[in-house]
């Protein structure tokens, strides 16, 4: 019982540290790719200290509550995800619960931005929701394939099953699903080529346009959590989880750096190009993976 309480307190903090480390690493690696020296690794922490000391402008009650809802949603998802062997709410849910609660983060941002009453926010949010419509279809197919293959909805059991059978990205029908998840990962993370919703040059960073001071700091923390969640889900489902947090972290790092390389070289899609891409190749691969899993497992 005491261990469980410690884990419940400890795992979001761990996730936050990993997420913020990734944010810093992203800026450093992008700078090195651009042949720049780049900021120090702790730059996001420095930014956050500055933002929390800054005065900020609120636009109303929903503006405050929406962003807190979004942050809370992200923290709850972290409790359901195994990080190494740390998983506080292992018995209480599974992939289906994660799928539902993952929607709270963009919903909170949408509610908060709605009261901001800035046209750039409306455009950004509509793009964000259209994009999530694009990647939710292949994501659902991928998760269905995984659930059918291991005959469980518990993510911990999926991780344990991979101890015996090897990583599921190396097993035949699930390889297609894993590939599909990796193809939609930039869209889930909102990095290039799928940064349509937060495009700074087009729509003044979209949903973030009215956030300043503490709001921007909370939005950054929420972004760090989203980064952690989507990569940790990939590592748990397809790279076999890990026996301890250190190995898990190394696996996450490899996936994240691969994603960053895609981010560094590609320009931005238009929203219709993004949807056309997301509903073509990743969906096709995920669908094939699901069909073949069904055929082989039955």
């Amino acid at each position: 019982m005491v261990t469980k309480i410690i884990h419940i307190i400890f795992s979001p903090i761990l996730a936050l540290v990993v997420g913020i480390f990734f944010l810093g690493l992203a800026r450093k690696i992008m700078a090195r790719i651009h042949w720049r020296y780049g900021p120090p690794l702790v730059q996001p922490v420095i930014d956050m200290i500055r933002l929390f000391y800054q005065k900020s402008v609120s636009h109303g009650r929903m503006f405050d509550l929406g962003i807190i809802l979004s942050l809370a949603g992200s923290i709850v998802v972290v409790l359901f995800l195994p990080f190494g062997q740390i998983c506080p709410l292992a018995g209480s849910g599974g992939l289906l619960v994660i799928l539902y609660i993952m929607l709270l983060a963009p919903l909170g941002l949408a509610l908060s931005g709605g009261q901001g009453a800035n046209p750039n926010i409306s455009i950004g949010i509509s793009r964000k929701l259209i994009l999530s419509l694009g990647y939710e279809v292949p994501l659902l197919l991928v998760l269905l394939a995984v659930m059918t293959c291991y005959k469980t909805i518990s993510i911990v059991e999926v991780v344990n099953a991979q101890d015996n059978t090897g990583w599921s990205i190396t097993s035949w029908p699930l390889f297609l699903s894993g590939l599909s998840y990796f193809l939609i990962l930039p869209a889930i993370l909102g990095i290039r080529p799928f940064d349509v919703s937060s495009a700074p040059q087009e729509i003044s960073s979209g949903p973030m346009a009215e956030y300043g001071g503490k709001y921007l700091a909370i939005a950054t923390i929420e972004h760090a959590f989203v980064l952690f969640i989507s990569i940790a889900l990939f590592v748990n489902l397809f790279l076999g989880g890990a026996a301890n947090p250190a190995i898990f972290f190394v696996k996450m790092l490899v996936v994240f750096v691969l994603g960053l390389c895609i981010n560094a070289v590609f320009p931005r899609f238009k929203i219709e190009q993004a949807i056309r891409y997301l509903w073509k190749w990743p969906t096709l691969l995920a669908f094939l993976g699901l069909i073949m899993t069904l055929v082989i497992r039955s």
Binding site: A31, R36, Y37, I49, P200, M208, E210, G212, L216
Partner: protein, 148 residues
């Protein structure tokens, strides 16, 4: 980061964080903005010191004003400045501000900007908030060379 700096961080975190984290928004009138790309890209890389460009005044705490200011653009500058959250800093960026401020004859720039009928010359009198504006000049060698 040496020991001295760590002591500073513990004593005054807000001050140090303001020093090393500047989110810049810029107001550009053509001529000075050409000096921004070398500053934020590989040539001088301002991100080393935590300076990155942002898209909206709400997220910014550093206001770069590039190029000369005419009476009409002054209104837009003040409106943008008022949207930024406190504490905030303003920088007159590029060589143009020097030309508009310095009184003695400086060849080309003097005639183009200071003697121009529509440019706002009384920059010292323009005090935004508690900061006198412009408090700092960033002038590259190249731009001075080009003027002569």
């Amino acid at each position: 980061m040496d020991r001295n700096q760590i002591t500073k961080w513990i004593k005054a975190p807000a001050k140090m964080a303001n020093k090393y984290s500047l989110h810049a928004i810029y107001f550009c009138t053509g001529c000075g903005i050409i000096e921004v790309p070398p500053v934020i890209t590989a040539r001088w890389d301002a991100e080393r010191f935590g300076v990155i460009p942002v898209a909206t005044p709400r997220q910014a705490n550093l206001f770069l004003i590039t190029g000369y200011v005419s009476v009409k653009t002054l209104r837009a500058i003040i409106r943008t400045y008022e949207q930024m959250p406190e504490p905030k800093y303003t920088v007159g960026f590029g060589s143009t501000h020097l030309w508009t401020l310095i009184d003695k004859d400086m060849a080309n720039g003097y005639i183009r900007y200071r003697e121009n009928y529509n440019s706002y010359r009384r920059n010292q009198e323009l005090v935004l908030g508690e900061l006198e504006w412009p408090p700092l000049f960033l002038v590259s060698d190249e731009s001075q060379g080009n003027e002569q």
